[in-house]
Amino acid sequence: MPNDLQRLNIKFYLEDETSVSPEEVFRIFNRWISEPRDEVLIDVADYTHIPNGPQTLLVGHESDYSLDNTDGRMGLRYGRKRPVDGDARQCLRAALSAALNACQRLEEAPEVEGRAQFRGAELQMSVFDRLGSPNSAQTLEALREDLLAVLSEIYGEAQISLTRDEDERQCLTVQIQAQGDFSVASMQQALAA
């Protein structure tokens, strides 16, 4: 039975914003369509004519991936679209894991020769579902325990701050910052453990 935490988006930021261009990612995403891993990937869209938004979008059936600049900072965004079963923790884990896998796949893509590196200590979580998860302090409160539980899997004992975007017209968006350095690979391992 789908729970309330649907359309979950997770974004990790590039260490160096210019390390990989939308054109390169466009090529890489195209290749991913031909080499899918347990999911249906459909098409790639180029939106580089718009400054702050998805720059290159990989459209999938269950989820989308994009090199994203919506908040003015370049990163890789994972966005779940189709309903997921499980409780909030399971949804959060699944989304985090999918986002990290995509980051790792991009870091390792031969086309970028290791130039693309993600900063693990910061991430953005947003929920594109104004009905199920309205952008309010209450929603975040209700989610806090589950969210911190899942975050502690990747960040261990590190101190974590959660900052909610208070513009109520935006969907629920939380900026998450952990103290310390975290690599994509280490976080992935931690999550898999």
Partner: protein, 753 residues
């Protein structure tokens, strides 16, 4: 799970009738998902609600090397060859392009929640969302309905969005504000029982004056141009009504139906036209089902007689005139009083922006600002910010334009510098609206199933190049309009541009190469006053050079204030062709592989994503040669038409079709000879009956041009008849090229197996 639904949440904010409609649709989705509703029926019902298919929804995509199967979770379909889970396009009707702040906010939210955070403005003042899942559509429709927007009849064989000049009500040249009339007609016809049995779509546009381009009434099934007339010493409002216009593969200029239809008669007349169209319009052959074909068949006089007869029989309906009491409902008021600019500080870039993006309203002190959207796209965040800007500078006075932009009306001039800075901050401060940089493009191969070449890829490339050089361009070049369609269907309105392009493909040395037909001589002004004609097929990669060369020659050779159409007319088509000749050549793959990929794509080019045709047969290399000769003949016909010889132009165009048919027949039967009758018979049995000639979507549409022109030749063709026949010949020849391409592919496959 809380069980909260949008239906409960929105409650009675959803108008009852729309709510019921949406509930029915939701049930149909449920039934289809259980395979309890036929797929074709379901397709029709979803199309009527603006729920379109999208490229790759047949479950296949060419990845540059081979066609990949997209492994959707179930085999269920939402229409023939359309996978249930494949993302689709949602068209959202915005009558006369008018948007309120609240509507903009909901659109922004939906863009994020059900689409890819991008909203696309179309060439008919609609909004489109892409990559939408069918199961997300009912709630999306409810949220739209709650703010007064419907997607009903946004597609399908119905009355499509009613468009109108985006300047209506504030324009300096209009007779009166056509907004309330367009709104009334849109409301009256929405879901009207007389408008449900069409063989094809029906498009309506309103314009406030004759000479500007805004309304494009000439290319609509029904165009209403606001005019006034003195009746018994009192000024009466009415409409000059035009019918049977339309773009599409073969464009038709609208015909004058009546010079003055009073405001009281407008709605009943539209209803009567709808009834006649439903009764007599073609139903089986989609390719000839638009009103334009009915009028061509009956003649305008007979059509008019039938409509007026129908009008007399219509049972009275109060709605015909009741809206006249509420004409002022759409009147707008400024948020702030109009104040002059008065030497206020100007941010960087302001002057250039002011020059192209600001229009002085009829009302002193107020201006209309055009927000230029590259490729008609904006993000959800940009839409939300625009809503907030509108709220602070104007009221609900925002409109979408057919040039795929947004306009903010009733801006006080004194606010312009601050407004400009705010637009710039959200990435919407682009100058050069309405210039050569502001290119119109249909979705093309990006998302449209029928796309042949990448209209958006090309538009993006041209825009980048032209924007860089904009300030160095001569003013006459800056003013040119470019419009691009991804195929012959002309959704990008390429006929009504100074320079138009539509996507085609050509087989070169066994490989398929993306091309565009170059269309010149069209006219955007005068409500799309004339339509351009094809000049040359040029590989996509050379199109930027085409624009550059035409612009240079125009500036170098233009006489005094000669405009582009006059210049092209003066130098003549032969010369234009000569200018473009070398650009039509395609280097071999080894010399330049980039020609074998389309703009904005990294894959090797293919037309396989459109769907497969059935092919067999032998190929002789002669075919390509003979088809090119046929194309040359069609071009010759254009020249003769320009020289005023419609009769000869017409017969040469017909001859060119026969010649192209012969080229195909000769791939199987070399000795077919020269007799037209024999060629056509052989062509029919070998290529049409076998469906070898069938385009994946247009089917035998183009073959019918050949048959009709042969079976019912015109004895005394007018210039318009000749013009149309040349277009038909061009399309038939294009179809023959494509068929030849498919045959060679099949042969390649045989040879390889």
């Amino acid at each position: 799970m809380s069980g909260l639904t949008w239906k409960d949440e929105l409650g009675d904010r959803i108008p009852e009738d729309l709510g019921r409609e949406i509930d029915i649709f939701e049930t149909e989705i449920e039934l289809r998902s259980q395979d309890k509703l036929d797929e074709t029926l379901f397709a029709e019902t979803r199309l009527r609600r603006g729920v379109y298919g999208q490229r790759y929804d047949n479950g296949q995509r060419f990845d540059g090397t081979e066609t990949q199967q997209l492994a959707y979770p179930e085999a269920l379909t939402k229409g023939p060859n359309t996978m249930w889970h494949a993302p689709g396009m949602q068209r959202i009707k915005i009558p006369f392009g008018g948007l309120s702040v609240e509507q903009m906010e909901v659109l922004a939210d939906l863009g994020e929640e059900v689409s890819d955070s991008i909203l696309h403005v179309t060439t008919r003042q609609d909004i489109q969302l892409h990559y939408v899942h069918i199961e997300d559509t009912p709630d999306m429709m409810r949220r739209l309905a709650a703010v007064g927007i419907t997607t009903r009849e946004a597609c399908g064989n119905s009355v499509r969005n009613v468009t109108a000049c985006p300047l209506a009500g504030v324009c300096n040249t209009e007779s009166f504000d056509v907004t309330p009339y367009s709104r009334a007609l849109a409301r009256f016809l929405l879901g009207h029982e007389d408008m449900q049995d069409f063989g094809r779509k029906f498009k309506i546009a309103f314009s406030g004056c004759r000479h500007e381009a805004c309304g494009l009434t000439n290319m609509h099934d029904l165009g209403a141009l606001g005019v006034t007339r003195m009746v018994d010493g009192v000024e009466k409002r009415g409409f000059e009504v035009w019918v049977g216009g339309g773009l599409g593969a073969v464009p038709h200029q609208a015909k004058l139906f009546d010079e003055f239809v009073s405001e009281e008669e407008l709605l009943p007349l539209a209803q009567a036209i709808g009834r006649v169209f439903a009764r007599l319009g073609e139903k089986r052959n989609r390719a000839r089902a638009r009103v334009k074909f009915l009028i061509a068949k009956l003649g305008i006089e007979e059509f008019k007689r039938l409509v007026l007869e129908e009008r007399q029989q219509l049972p009275h309906d109060d709605r015909w005139t009741s809206y006249l009491d509420d004409l002022d409902e759409t009147d707008e008021e400024p948020l702030k009083p109009g104040q002059a600019l008065n030497g206020a500080d100007q941010p960087e870039g302001f002057e250039a922006w002011h020059e192209t993006n600001v229009y002085r309203q009829r009302q002193t002190g107020h201006v209309v600002v055009t927000v230029y959207l590259p490729l008609g796209d904006l993000t959800s965040n940009q839409m939300r910010s625009l809503a907030s800007i509108s709220q602070r500078y104007v009221k609900d006075t925002v409109r979408l334009t057919v040039e795929q932009n947004v306009v903010l009306r009733w801006i006080s001039e004194a606010d312009l510098p601050a407004l400009y800075s705010e637009l710039k901050a959200i990435g919407l401060g682009g100058a050069a609206a309405g210039t050569i940089v502001d290119i119109t493009a249909c979705p093309g191969t990006d998302t449209c199933k029928l796309g042949i070449s990448s209209s958006r890829g090309l538009a993006g490339e041209l825009r980048r190049r032209l924007a860089e050089r904009y300030h160095t361009l001569d003013a006459a070049v800056q003013d040119l309009r470019i419009k691009i369609s991804g195929c012959f269907n002309s959704c990008g309105q390429h006929h009504a541009a100074d320079i138009g392009f539509y996507g085609i493909s050509r087989k070169i040395n066994g490989l398929t190469v993306p091309h565009f037909q170059v269309i010149l001589g069209g006219r955007w002004k005068d409500n799309a006053g004339s339509f351009g004609l094809p000049m040359a097929a040029v590989p996509s990669k050379n199109i930027p050079a085409v624009v550059e060369r035409l612009a240079e020659r125009f500036i170098g050779e233009r006489q005094q204030a000669e405009n582009f159409q006059d210049y092209i007319g003066r130098i003549g088509k032969r010369e234009v062709k000569a200018i473009l000749d070398d650009l039509a050549q395609v280097p071999t793959y080894e010399e330049d592989p980039s020609f074998y990929r389309d703009w904005g794509d990294v894959r090797e080019y293919t037309i396989d994503d459109m769907g497969k045709g059935e092919c067999a047969g032998e190929v002789v290399p002669l075919a390509q040669f003979e088809l090119t000769a046929a194309e040359r003949e069609a071009f010759e016909a254009q020249i003769l038409l320009d020289e005023g010889d419609a009769g000869v132009a017409y017969s040469i165009a017909c001859g060119a079709m026969v010649q192209a048919a012969r080229a195909l027949v000769r791939t199987q039967f070399l000795d077919v000879g020269d007799d037209a009758e024999r060629i056509i018979e052989e062509f029919r049995t070998r290529f049409v009956d076998t469906e070898l000639f069938f385009d994946p979507f247009a089917k035998d549409k183009f073959a019918r041009y050949l048959f009709r022109n042969h079976e019912e030749p015109l004895t005394n063709p007018s210039a318009e008849d000749a013009h149309r026949t040349i277009e038909e010949a061009q399309l038939f020849i294009e179809g023959a090229f494509a068929c030849y391409g498919r045959i060679s592919d099949a042969e390649g496959t045989l040879a390889g197996s």
